[in-house]
């Protein structure tokens, strides 16, 4: 795009959505049945095709950036199932993020949006120093019996957002120690140095997943480092269209992983955002960083791990940002199949979003609830005892809805299963 263009229709030139990307859409509609919000609502403007149409209409000056448009984009989960389906290669995720950024910068907000809540979440989640203490307080709430009381009496019934958040809370761990800063590789010679991203949610809600990640990498022959200086990868901000914040957080994160061969991520949302650093910051540093990012399953699938039998019936849910965002589907399944005694059952609509979508389920509880209920029903159909998913948000959402439907399943990250089966000498 020519740098001389001051604007693109209703968009300004800063982080403008790509016109070529918008024009790639031929309006074929193949994305429609793959879109969770279209499946629920059946309305064109809450489908990828409709959303692209609105963005393009804004780019062509047919409409301005309006609160109604913002609403339809807010309802989008950002799951990118449409990208997987699209034969024309429309980069929907990036178009969405760019447009959200434009809307945000111009203060165009849908009346249904809970801006305060969003600000709160964005202000707390990506900041371990704020999230930690808050969760410690919440843990007290859980352990003291107060939670049981509140839930039993349905005290939060009238407060939808609070109730949703409360319901989502998994049992919070007593302690959330960080894994060791350095772990030696098992075996004579290390195959490389792996840096592990702790992740904001993962480190507090599922610290064992991080610990298991380190163990598995070491067992696979990597020297593992967990850089202490790391903070947030910026995914939540990126998905909300706050691209400058994303850049700031990326710039702070990247130096922490300067001297590792591979940056290993066990949270799908984070991995997806980090692999796109090169798009939003088109310089060498970001590009070379993004090229080194891998999901834990991508790394482990190329390694041999000594695994003991683990007799479980497991079904695998594709986290959106893993399957659609990173095109990683086969690797986690392959790893689970390698565990002797483990039966992997197909989950129908495995790659249909569970409704978590980062913090979406806190902002749009109705839609997220619809999708979560559907996902739990699908899980029930499989008869599996364990559900595996590669993202903390998914784990929370699926666990909550299975619980709500009285389904006695265990919801875990694939590395948890691998670690359980790991033969350690």
């Amino acid at each position: 795009m020519s740098p001389d263009i001051a604007r693109l229709g209703a968009f300004d030139a800063q982080d403008v959505p790509s016109m070529d990307g918008l024009r790639a859409c031929v309006h074929c509609g193949i994305c429609l049945p793959q879109c969770p919000t279209y499946r629920v609502l059946g309305e064109e403007m809450d489908s990828p095709r409709g959303r692209v149409y609105l963005m393009r209409a804004a780019a062509e000056d047919r409409i301005g950036l309006t609160p109604t448009m913002a609403r339809h984009l807010d309802l989008c989960l950002g799951c990118r199932a449409c990208e997987t389906a699209c034969p024309s290669g429309v980069p929907f995720g990036q178009l969405l993020e760019a447009t959200r950024g434009q809307l945000e910068r111009r203060g165009v907000v849908a009346p249904e949006r809970d801006s305060k809540l969003l600000r709160f979440l964005l202000g707390v989640f990506p900041h371990p120093r704020r999230l930690g203490p808050m969760l410690r307080g919440l843990r007290l709430y859980q352990r003291s019996g107060l939670q049981a009381l509140v839930r039993g009496l349905g005290l939060l019934a009238p407060f939808e957002s609070l109730r949703t958040m409360e319901a989502l809370l998994p049992p919070l761990p007593a302690a959330t120690p960080l894994p060791p800063e350095r772990t030696a590789a098992r075996g004579a010679r290390a195959r490389g140095r792996a840096g592990v991203l702790l992740g904001c949610a993962q480190r507090f809600f599922y610290p064992d997943v991080n610990a298991d990640t380190v163990r598995l990498l070491a067992a696979a022959g990597y020297e593992v480092v967990v850089p202490r200086g790391q903070e947030c990868c910026g995914a939540l901000h990126l998905h909300a269209g706050r691209i400058d914040e994303l850049r700031a957080m990326a710039r702070r994160l990247m130096p922490a992983f300067e001297d590792v061969d591979v940056v290993v991520v066990n949270a799908a949302g984070c991995g997806s955002a980090m692999k796109e650093y090169g798009h939003w910051m088109p310089d060498e540093t970001a590009r070379r960083f993004s090229e080194r990012v891998r999901d834990i399953s991508e790394v482990l699938v190329d390694c041999e791990l000594p695994l003991r039998p683990l007799r479980e019936t497991v079904t695998y849910h594709d986290a959106c940002h893993l399957a659609h965002g990173q095109r990683v589907r086969a690797e986690p399944r392959e790893l689970l199949r390698r565990i002797p005694g483990l039966t992997l059952v197909d989950l129908p609509d495995a790659d249909l979003c569970c409704g978590s979508a980062g913090i979406y389920n806190l902002l749009e509880p109705e839609m997220a609830g619809e999708l979560g209920r559907g996902k739990a029903a699908r899980v029930r159909e499989t008869g599996a005892r364990v559900v595996a998913a590669g993202n903390p948000g998914c784990l929370m959402q699926i666990a909550q809805h299975c619980r709500a439907q009285g389904l006695p399943v265990e919801v875990v990250h694939p590395v948890t299963l691998l670690a359980r089966a790991l033969e350690e000498r």
């Binding site: 309006h27 074929c28 309305e43 095709r49 609105l54 034969p87």
Partner: protein, 481 residues
Amino acid sequence: MPLSPRVLRELEAILGSRGLVLSREGLLTYECDMHTFYKGAPEAVVLPESAEQVAAVVRLCRRERVPVVPRGSGTGLIGGAMASAGGVMVSMTRMNRIVELDFPNRCATVQPGLINLWLSQATREGGYFFAPDPSSQMVSSIGGNASTNAGGPHCLKYGITVNHVLGLEVVTGAGELVRLGGKTHERPGYDLTGVMVGAEGTLGLITGVIVRLTHLPESVKTILASFPTIEDASETVSAIIRAGIIPAALEMLDEVVIRAIEEGIHAGYPKGAGAVLLIELDGPAAEIEAQAAPIEAICRDHLALEIRIARSEAERALLWKGRKEAAGVFGRLTPNWLLQDAVVPRSRLPEIMRELQAIGARHGVVIANVFHAGDGNLHPLICYDDRKPGDLERAKHANEDLLHACLRLGGSVTGEHGVGLDKCESLPLQFAEADLNFMARLRRAFDPDSIMNPGKLLPSHPACGEGFRPAARPLPTGTWI
């Protein structure tokens, strides 16, 4: 003319606020189907969940003389599901359930918004499928298929949608909610079901469909044959038909389309061939084995470069994905396109393909081809870029030449996409005044006040007895057909 507040209130009373779209942004997304050349936003979109709601809407619109336009998944290619005369658009997307599967009677009752492929997926375990398989089947709705009498690659063997519809529940333009046909295969009276299929929403809105299910074939063999030129491939098609073999599907793709498919879908199509034929045989194992040999021989006789047989269901599925999603990869080929759907008698296929190449050369446009060679149903894709001056003009001229060439050879202006807005003004090329007049009067019998999808299917003609003129929203300038 905008709908009055009273009418809007009545619509809300029928549908509820969640069943009504009135925002400017929302209505904008409904202004076209897959053929974005034709744009016309409705004044309101309703999303009914029952036939009774549909009937109530139609009665209201008839009373108020407001146009009604039905819409399924909006994947049509003829400007059918757009409101060229404004009015109320009725989106069937929320009526998308399977009501009943009746295997002993080999039929299924479904709601119109049900996605075509989902029906076959649901019946698969019972050993059945829904035979009409338009390339859009992963998103197009059965109601939409019935409305346009959709075809698809396998209609060569199995017939088109009308051959698989046993009954329809419809709301006529007069506001009557009636059941046409049923589970029986014949009944006394006029074949109203047969007339309603393919009527493109101009006689009534389809609120329910009873479809015939077909037994899954015992065996399937998918053959991909590549040829140096389109000519070789076309001659092969003619030869196969001449030999008395009717495959289940016989599709042709040229090198332009193959390049785009491989870029977008990686389906395994061979690059470097001038054209390929995707041939599918299905039926009893002994029969397809016996048919495959002569087909391969015919291909070799016509200089086939490679003959590949799909070795697994996955490979077969990928080849078909490539073929069926070809429409989607057009975006990689060209920024804009005009798509034809003309038919020629099978015996004239090599001739029209030669003509097509000559027309492309004459006007300096690229024409890509991916189509149902087995029944002479062409889909020439005329590429252009609306940002380049003169490009659209050249494309339009090429398109017109092509259409006339097909008609000269005794063909038809549309094989399966339908008429809609796109081809209604060219019906007079195929029908005389008396014929069009007959159709206009048939329309009047169902839609006395001309509210059903006005301006579509039949050319606007003073003598045709249409009382309703499309509102003064002009078609885009430079409408090419």
